[in-house]
């Protein structure tokens, strides 16, 4: 990210038109770093998915969803017929934690929830979006 440099060259921007787009630019190193940031969430999501969620039933997500299969992240949000409303993926993750696992649901904006969704979606990469599909 170039934003951290922003404060220093403010004056220069006025002098040199070729630098005027600096704040919006990023290079290959930036992309690598951001991808690494995402992949570290995928990794911790994978750990949570495979026994990293403490629960009284000692169960794990991969017991029913090897490689996060049969989770269908590309179909969310969708009308979840059993709930009678449109649900997002995070609500279904919490449904699993509460019911088969008998555990405590995660906050929808928690790091763990983000990591779980990062892993689930990563295992589904390349599949076309299909919102609402049942």
């Amino acid at each position: 990210m170039k934003h951290r440099l922003l404060a220093i060259p403010l004056l220069l921007v006025g002098l040199n038109p070729s630098l005027s787009a600096l704040a919006d630019e990023f290079d290959a190193d930036d992309l690598k770093r951001w991808q690494a940031g995402f992949m570290s969430a995928v990794k911790s999501g994978e750990k949570l998915f495979h026994g990293g969620i403490k629960n009284p039933n000692t169960m794990s997500c991969d017991q029913c969803h090897p490689n996060a299969a049969n989770t269908h992240p590309e179909t969310y949000p969708k009308f979840q017929q059993q709930l009678g409303k449109v649900a997002v993926l995070g609500e279904m993750i919490n449904w699993c934690i509460r019911n088969p696992l008998k555990g405590k649901p995660l906050a929808l904006d928690s790091d763990d929830m983000a990591a779980l969704q990062a892993y689930i979606t990563w295992e589904r990469r390349g599949v076309k979006l299909a919102p609402g599909k049942h």
Binding site: P56, A69, N99, P100, E123
Partner: protein, 357 residues
């Protein structure tokens, strides 16, 4: 109504409800002159009994096995015997195997057991063997030769790695999608035994092999796989009629390779997705298979079940008993020379829940 009589009433009402949903009578088909004679057997598999703490077990899995046992006991006429297809336990603990066997002890009839990887990799089958005897054996019944194999062995280098404990090894093998797992196999020693066992059997005798893993190669990543499958298949090739019935995959699968029919059975615990739904790897499920219905997770027994099997033709006529769903029947079609779903085989007669993605 007093408390006691009310409970008694509920118990009776429950039993009636179960009986009401069951296809109670088995179809008897006249067999003709040749052996084997008409008979049926039942098949229960993959209960994954899980100890959480002390005397506590995951109730969901207990309920699955209890239901299968209760329903199986209502079959009339009685099946000649019952097969248990492996994975009684989740982590191979003696407590889990014992608890599972306690529930299975409620079955009316003789039970033959197959070893699953979840029964094996904690203590290499020691407790299972102590309770149930050897894990490979054969028996003859009404003109059919039955063979039970332990197909979940693997390379000795993996089994005898410098593990911290048996439990560490068990946990590695228990993870289906483990990239550091190891493929299942029957192994040289057991294949030699099988060769000698089959040498004594007339080639016109129908042979049925029970294994935990498929004796075919479907998807290595989840061990829907047996590494020496082709070598075992080759030993079955000389027989007129051969069938392999396996657990492990927790789903409906069937296939025909030359003279050998393959059938998978449902788990009583939970269903597994079809490997084709994992989009990052290639897999090879038989095109012949019409999949089970996709599970509704809100109904805890959905996409689980047990089966009863009619051997009247010397081939397998498999009936899947699926809680809350219509039974499925996959029977050997003499004309086509392979197993076919008697209702859904034609693509035009499939239903939306059979579409997995």
């Amino acid at each position: 109504m007093s408390k006691y009589s009310r409970r008694d009433f509920l118990k009776r009402a429950g039993a009636c409800a179960v009986a009401g949903t069951l296809p109670i009578s088995l179809v008897e088909v006249a067999f003709g002159n040749s052996d084997p004679k008409n008979f049926t057997f039942a098949f229960i598999s993959d209960s994954h009994i899980t100890q959480t703490k002390g005397d506590n077990f995951v109730e969901n899995w207990d309920r699955g096995l209890r239901r299968a046992v209760a329903e199986c006991n209502l079959l009339d006429p009685r099946p000649d015997f019952i097969l248990y297809g492996g994975d009684i336990a989740q982590l191979g603990k003696p407590e889990e195997i014992d608890h599972g066997l306690e529930i299975l002890a409620g079955l009316r009839g003789d039970v033959h057991y197959v070893m699953g990887e979840h029964d094996y990799y904690l203590d290499l089958g020691e407790h299972w063997r102590k309770r149930l005897g050897p894990e490979r054996y054969s028996f003859d019944h009404k003109g059919v030769h039955f063979v039970v194999l332990n197909s979940i062995l693997t390379y000795p280098e993996w089994t005898h790695k410098a593990w911290d404990s048996g439990m560490q090894r068990m946990l590695q093998m228990a993870r289906l999608d483990n990239p550091h797992g190891s493929p299942f196999m029957v192994g040289d020693e057991q294949r030699q035994w099988l060769k000698e066992d089959l040498a004594k059997v007339d080639k016109r005798t129908p042979v049925v092999v029970f294994s935990h893993s498929p004796i075919q190669k479907i998807y290595k990543g989840w061990n829907f796989w047996t590494d020496d499958a082709e070598q075992v298949q080759a030993m079955l090739k000389p027989f007129d009629k051969a069938t392999v019935i396996y657990g492990h995959v927790h789903q409906i699968q069937y296939n025909q390779i030359d003279n050998i029919s393959f059938h998978a059975v449902m788990a009583t615990a939970w269903p597994w997705p079809y490997p084709s739904t994992y989009k990052q790897a290639e897999s090879h499920l038989a095109k012949l298979t019409v999949p089970m219905n996709r599970a509704d997770p809100f109904f805890e027994r959905d996409a689980t079940g047990w089966q009863f099997i009619d051997m009247h033709s010397g081939n397998v006529d498999m009936r899947y008993v699926l809680p809350g769903n219509a039974s499925r029947r996959v029977a050997f079609d003499e004309k086509a020379g392979r197993p076919m779903d008697t209702r859904h085989q034609d693509p035009a007669s499939r239903i939306p829940p059979q579409n997995h993605y």
